[in-house]
Symmetry: C3
Subunit: 211 residues, 3 copies
């Protein structure tokens, strides 16, 4: 670990648990069976990290080899399986928790990219992928177009800023538990602000004004 983070395992488990709930919820809505619901939880909670690990050569990815993370994802899936009628109504809380998972995954993913000795560019890319990849996998497996690509919310942009910040901190030799925690909070705050103030990114350019 470049920046030895005493709180990292706790953060990661929280992120996996919450993301797995989001994946399982999508599967419940599509009337998947219980196996499909748990697989969606696993793919959403751990898919971003697995994509990152395959791309940077850290195989086998922890998403298939670490039983504690798999149990966490399955627990998130089971939580949604049994309690979805109530949790559907707690949508606001889930969206906030998902913002937390985005922040955690992005920052931890960027750091893992730096540790594996990839280029700074690759660390930024895999950081964003770790943050948004689970959701992309969830959407593809449920037959949807990935929501992060077309919903026009600020979702990937906070991740991009966060992973770029982590790479800059590493460049300046300023990566420590405090700056890492600040980076997580920054991504989280940007995402929450985007939700609160309905900040959007533009759709296709409608053409330059006629001269």
């Amino acid at each position: 670990m470049i920046a030895d983070l005493p709180y990292e395992p706790l953060l990661e488990i929280l992120g996996v648990y919450v993301s797995a709930m989001s994946g399982a919820l999508a599967a419940v809505r599509k009337q998947f069976d219980v196996f499909g619901i748990l697989v969606l939880g696993w793919a959403t909670g751990l898919g971003g990290g697995m994509l990152r690990d395959v791309l940077i050569g850290a195989v086998p990815p922890v998403g298939i080899s670490d039983w504690r993370l798999i149990v966490t994802a399955v627990a998130g899936g089971l939580t949604m399986y049994f309690f979805h009628p109530r949790l559907e109504r707690a949508r606001r809380a889930i969206v906030m928790l998902d913002a937390g998972a985005l922040a955690i995954f992005t920052v931890v993913g960027t750091i893992k990219g730096l540790e594996l000795g990839t280029t700074a560019t690759a660390a930024v890319v895999v950081g964003v992928m770790t943050g948004v990849g689970g959701g992309v996998l969830r959407d593809l497996l449920t037959g949807e177009v990935p929501v992060v690509l077309h919903h026009r919310q600020l979702y990937a942009v906070p991740a991009l800023l966060g992973s770029s910040l982590v790479v800059l901190l590493w460049w300046w030799d300023r990566l420590d538990p405090w700056t890492v925690a600040a980076s997580v909070l920054l991504v989280f705050a940007l995402r929450v602000a985007a939700l609160r103030f309905r900040l959007t990114v533009p759709g296709p350019w409608r053409g330059f004004p006629q001269r």
Copy 2:
């Protein structure tokens, strides 16, 4: 090879051939062209193994490097290309052969995971992936939601039991050609029993009874 299996190449070729037919049939139904039909055969027959190999670092996967397996998959695709009007009517036989392919791929995939020195957890996961991954790829490439996630049949569950059994046998140092054959037969028998007796896994939980 952990367990030296004299019959393994024959099993694998049979599994690839039958799975490739299942992929090519899906492509025929979607009116793909002959290139698409053969690619679907290849992706379905060899995709589960390729997913496994990429995740455990056994690259390049045999699915792209071993011409005998590729020829087998193409042969399965061509068989379906030319004979689909008759084979459509032999659906019952195809379902049984597919159960055989599931059993073979799961057990062989789990053993390959163990050989590569991954964790026991990873061996179970990649075993199931080898068994069901080709079908998932087939469904994604034909624009369908993966059937294994929502059809409520016992399909992945026999694979999960089979790959867990293989890992237990390896743990107890009891992996030999006979116990491996027994594991293949167990997965096959469970799958056939599920078909015969219409065993299902439940869909989303409908909520706890009102108090």
Copy 3:
């Protein structure tokens, strides 16, 4: 580099730029947001190469680690973002440029496969994948069935012939800048001829004639 090609970086940048435009155009049509449009450009321009690199173990793939290629893909995406109302009308030119990208990616991808010491079979497969993989990724991410599998045009077949030719040239020890350039031109010419003369590959076989 097996065949030291002085013109290779230029070719690759041109291929990435044009393919990225094709991906961004698909995203514009689906009303993706600007982040989604640029991601589609990146995935289409660099996805075939990333798929190849992951399969042959050349990680991290240049598509995530080389900022020049990423900037090129983003530039292609931005070009389409701002100029799509005019570029839509230039469809004929885009199709021709896409034929060029197919030819470049296939030949360069096959050579990279040979350099990494994979089997001849794997080099042919990854060559075709490099050529058509970006388009497959584009279609999957926009919720479409991959067009290369069902459109019945000669698109993958020229790539297959081109990558086979490169492997034969390597086998005969005849791979030099001139024969490589000739291979690129061959794929391009076949693709353009297919467009010009509406050459097609057949759909599903309709059954043998009744006896």
